[in-house]
Amino acid sequence: MGLTIENVSVVFPAANGRPPVSALSEINLQIDDREFVVALGASGCGKSTLLNLIAGFLAPTSGELTLNGRRVEGPGADRAVVFQKHALLPWLNVIDNVAFGLQIQGISRAKRYETANKFVGLLGLDGFQKSPVYMLSGGMQQRVGIARALTCDPDVLLMDEPLGALDALTREKAQELILNIWDNTHKSIFFITHSVEEALFMGTKLVVMSPRPGRITHVFDLPFSRQFLDGQSAREVKAAPEFIRLREDVLKIIFADEEAAA
């Protein structure tokens, strides 16, 4: 089962004198259950467009997406999105933000707090339940966003550069946190990043994309997150020769794209 993307293309029509943009062309991608797919690629290659398609915010110009055998025709609670920023509701405190999805689904307050509290704890936010979210640090806000996405028990987690705004140290800790959560909750994840190292470390499958028209040019299977979850330290994994070799290979591909574009 899982998520299947077949021959999907997206063309943004011409507008205001701009020519039409072929944002995605003939994309084929399979995201199996419990798979962690990472998308990497030069800016403008259509990563966010692909994520918006999966989320259902956007309909493909041609082609088809199916999730567990059902056609994707709009947003739904079986897919949850973690955004880079601006997605929390500042008028709600931490617990109400985390419980927001359950509130939308009409779950009673006591029930939704119970579930939300579980994820607040999982993300290390205990004690901050009543804090206003606008007073939290960027890293904590991002964890609130992840907790909120998890509460409705989605099949697929969609993350568009969720760690892009964090400092290096916070970011590495957040990577480990997300991997542990992925391992414990058995979700499939589609994860966008600009960091090659992050992509290699986190994914089980790496999809490298290329712009104009946006397409998938390379797919790699990755062993590194498993190594981390099996007990190796993150630093060890990231310093291993195979990790470094693959990192350089991927960087070469991406730089070649950037130069072709320039």
Partner: protein
């Protein structure tokens, strides 16, 4: 992850290196320099800082100049009576009323007119503005009439109000209502645009209906704009009060000011102006307080 809150991100002010004593910078230079505003916010948003003392100073200066000018006798009391004359007048009107009506009745009838117009404008204008922000149909239908009448001074359509609705309370309240209504509608309409697309998408991805997105995302995020619109709106209401009480009024602060001016009772005119200003300002303070309580997150995310 680090659990630093904004307050922890405190930076020590840079220590000045020791050097030979220099003449200290002038007052202007010191006042215009960027300064720490709050802990953790060494160089804050320009414009931050407490203005209470400066405001008190400016008010004090105003009254001092006023008193000085009249005490020296530069201006005739007919044009500018001394401050004390206003106070005396206030006390006498408080005790004996104006044109046979107690002062508090003038005050309450005007307040009633402005606030009933304001409440009516909120009750109709806020939903209408939100609807206009969210639906092209509503926007298409209501944008032309509102934009048409909005720039017209209320005095210009006052005669029409009187011809249509007579000289009673209806035409007065309606006139004030119209001047409050436009800014409230436009504010609510603009507020709809406040929600970030990510917030809206987040709600949809949890399976929210269009209605739920409006209820749980659009409306709360529009609150800061709505409260600002209400503040601006009631300001327009007080501005229109005197016009509304121009014709066939026998009570009200506007009436008091207008009829006193016909008899060149300058102290009453000035006193009326002050009373209107003070009520309007008190309500504005209340609104600011409400704003801090209701939308403490305004501009912070």
């Amino acid at each position: 992850m680090t659990d630093k809150t904004a307050a922890d991100a405190h930076v020590e002010p840079r220590a000045e290196p020791q050097r030979a004593p220099r003449p200290s910078p002038g007052l202007i230079a010191r006042m215009s320099r960027a300064r720490p505003t709050k802990p953790g916010e060494i160089y804050g948003v320009p414009g931050h800082g407490n203005t209470l003392w400066l405001s008190a100073f400016s008010i004090g200066l105003f009254f001092f100049v006023w008193w000085g000018v009249t005490a020296i006798g530069w201006v005739k009391p007919l044009f500018i009576p001394p401050p004390m004359a206003i106070v005396t007048k206030f006390i006498s009107i408080w005790n004996t009323g104006f044109t046979g009506t107690p002062f508090l009745e003038h005050l309450s009838i005007s307040t009633f007119r402005v606030f009933s117009a304001f409440i009516l404008a909120c009750v109709i204008g806020l939903p209408l503005g939100l609807a206009m922000g969210m639906s092209p149909l509503m926007r298409g239908l209501f944008d032309p009439p509102i934009e048409f009448y909005r720039p017209i001074p209320p005095l210009a359509y006052l005669p029409l109000m009187i011809i249509w609705f007579g000289i009673g309370e209806t035409s007065k309240i309606l006139l004030i209502f119209l001047s409050v209504f436009a800014p409230i509608v436009l504010g609510a309409r603009a507020g709809v645009k406040s929600a970030a697309i990510e917030q809206i998408h987040a709600a949809y991805s949890f399976g929210a209906s269009r209605w739920q997105v409006m209820r749980y995302v659009i409306m709360p995020s529009a609150m800061p704009e709505i409260l600002t619109a209400m503040r601006v709106g009631i300001g327009f209401g007080w501005t229109t009060l005197v016009a509304a009480e121009m014709v066939a009024a026998t009570k009200g602060l506007g009436y008091m000011v207008l009829s006193a001016s016909q008899f060149l009772q300058t102290p009453v005119v000035i006193m009326g102006i002050f009373v209107i200003a003070i009520i309007a300002f008190a309500f504005d303070l209340l609104m600011r307080f409400v704003e801090r309580r209701v939308v403490p997150w305004k501009g912070r995310m």
